[in-house]
């Protein structure tokens, strides 16, 4: 089981994972408050300033799965994987314009989740349930995939095992995660994010300096990748589209995948939790300026797909490309450091995702459906329990070898999550849409997006529309149908009732915001 372990790497790896676990427990004492209150446990008391939220939201959005998955697509087919760059360029104008308004109204009305806001705004319980249900459904597979990212690096350390023993390190890491999440709440990932992001930046800077030095510069790296793709395409008989540039048939999928993913990203419960935990609307604006630093990092990580080709890494599963590149280039101990950065990069979002899902379940599903009179203390208790259930569920997913299923669900999750965009964002700016109209739009988008993704062989992300020659990302097709239905129904049966006034969307007065 541990006969082939790389000891220096493993020792560094275990050391860092233990260090952040300790931080996770210590975090309970940070900005001390009553953690039996859901606002404190699940939202950090809305007290995080721009610096902390930069680490927290960055660590939340750019996950371990991203660090493994994006370069693996680049390794497999090249330029197409870089859709992640337009995607992450698109989200920041949205963050800048819409989220300070959402934050302000959430602060005034004590909303903790997107579904809270939707209920307050439209007074429609079905719409609240729709938003909550979609969020939880899309989050579950996302957490499971964080584990997959973590397992890849544990494998690369040389850990071998059969059956359940193969997942032992992962299970231990998650048991510790569950303990400190339930104790410290959102403070734990916020504190760990400092260490994690610093480590990831060190790893990335080392890679972009050292790798080209060893491999003969960036020109040589791109050339090596280009040669590898030419061979791949030739062996496939020209059927595979792969290369340093997009093939003509990849252009529309590339653009629509970027747009559709951008609609979805900030709608996830973990994004909402991260963003609503900040101290002021201004902290959000500052982050819309500062967070793109993470996008640069993501772009550089994506390039590692090409570096792997240049370093002569040949792996059957493209997801192994980055771990094997690390082993090929760096000394063992730094390999362990990099792997720890990726593994901790899984723990931070996994913690925030389970907290986001738990907040949503407690407030928007359990309370309205089962016990409307739930006391504030029991709310926090229930949320801690749900976070635990979500984490155990994610581990079971991986233990049962349902990784393929998790990947399919994750693909669908992006399509589904985009469908709550109109319900959550439109209401911040206009009163033209009614709750029922938005609900019907959501249902249409969910059904259409799922239907388009289904083929007898597998779930697919893109679909040719109206028999045209180009394929469009299903999330985009579905959201267009969603908005059309919502607009038509809202025009037919307008509902001008509005529970929020314009003043409630405005920034809080400076003194009060800091309080």
């Amino acid at each position: 089981m541990i006969g082939h372990l790389r000891w220096p790497a493993t020792i560094v790896f275990v050391g860092f994972v233990l260090l952040v676990s300790l931080l996770g427990f210590v975090a309970a004492r940070w900005k001390r408050a009553d953690l039996a209150d859901l606002h404190e446990w699940g939202l950090g008391g809305r007290r995080f300033g721009p610096w902390i939220s930069w680490f927290l939201i960055g660590g939340d959005l750019y996950t371990a799965y991203t660090v493994i998955a994006v370069p693996s697509v680049v390794y497999a087919i090249g330029a197409y994987g870089f859709f992640a760059l337009p995607y992450t360029i698109l989200i920041y104008p949205l963050l800048y314009v819409a989220f300070p308004r959402l934050w302000a109204v959430a602060h005034r009305k004590n909303y903790m989740t997107a579904a809270d806001y939707v209920l307050g705004r439209y007074g429609n319980k079905w719409l609240e349930l729709a938003v909550a249900f979609t969020g939880i459904l899309a989050t579950m597979p996302y957490i499971a995939l964080q584990l997959v990212g973590m397992e890849k690096v544990i494998e690369a350390l040389g850990f071998e095992g059969r059956g359940l023993a193969a997942h032992l390190p992962l299970s231990i890491a998650f048991a510790i995660l569950a303990l400190y999440t339930s104790r410290s709440g959102l403070r734990a990932p916020a504190m760990i994010a400092f260490v994690k992001d610093t480590m990831i930046y060190i790893f990335v800077v080392a890679a972009i300096v050292v790798v080209p030095m060893k491999l003969g510069g960036y020109g040589a790296i791109f050339d090596a990748a280009s040669t590898a793709f030419d061979q791949k395409v030739a062996t496939s008989g020209g059927k595979l589209a792969a290369g340093l540039l997009l093939a003509p048939q990849q252009i529309v999928p590339f653009i629509t995948l970027a747009i559709g993913s951008a609609f979805a990203l900030l709608m996830y419960p973990h994004s909402m939790t991260g963003i609503l935990s900040v101290r002021s609307g201004n902290a959000i604006r500052v982050n819309a300026i500062a967070l793109p630093a993470y996008s640069v990092m993501l772009g550089l990580i994506a390039l590692m797909g090409y570096m792997a080709h240049a370093a002569g890494v040949h792996v059957a599963d493209p997801q192994d490309a980055v771990p094997h590149l690390i082993l090929a280039i760096f000394p063992d101990w730094f390999g362990g450091f990099s792997f720890a950065a990726i593994a901790i990069g899984a723990l931070v979002p996994a913690a925030i995702m389970s907290i986001g899902a738990a907040n949503t379940f407690t407030r928007n599903i359990f309370k309205p459906l089962i016990d409307p009179g739930l006391a504030a203390r029991d709310e926090a208790l229930l949320a801690k329990l749900v976070a635990l259930v979500v984490q155990v569920g994610a581990v079971l997913f991986v233990l049962r070898g349902a990784t393929r299923f998790a990947l399919d669900l994750q693909l669908l999750g992006g399509i589904w999550m985009a469908q709550v965009f109109p319900a959550v964002i439109f209401g911040l700016f206009t009163r033209r849409f009614s709750g029922w109209g938005l609900f019907a739009g959501w249902a249409t988008g969910m059904a259409l997006g799922t239907l388009l993704a289904w083929t007898p062989g597998a779930w697919v992300p893109v679909h040719a529309i109206f028999g045209s020659s180009f394929a469009v990302y299903n999330g985009v097709t579905a959201i267009v149908a969603n908005v059309v239905v919502a607009a038509l129904l809202s025009a037919a049966r307008p509902d001008w009732a509005r529970n929020e006034t314009e003043e409630e969307y405005a920034d809080l007065p400076a003194g009060k915001a800091a309080a």
Partner: protein, 56 residues
């Protein structure tokens, strides 16, 4: 005008046929890659300008 500045880099990043090419290269990076990587700090700077403008 303000929103135009915010959305400009995003709009450029979606005009894929315009930058889906190898030349001109920069430090060995094909045009496709260095343009996308450059758009990110540009979007930061433009957002910063809008932010400063709003504060005044």
């Amino acid at each position: 005008m303000k929103y135009l500045l915010l959305i400009l880099p995003a709009a450029v990043s979606l005009c894929v046929p315009f930058y889906n090419m190898m030349e001109p290269r920069l430090f060995g990076f094909p045009f496709f890659y260095w343009l996308l990587l450059l758009l990110i700090p540009i979007s930061s700077v433009l957002t910063f300008l809008v932010y400063k403008g709003e504060k005044r």
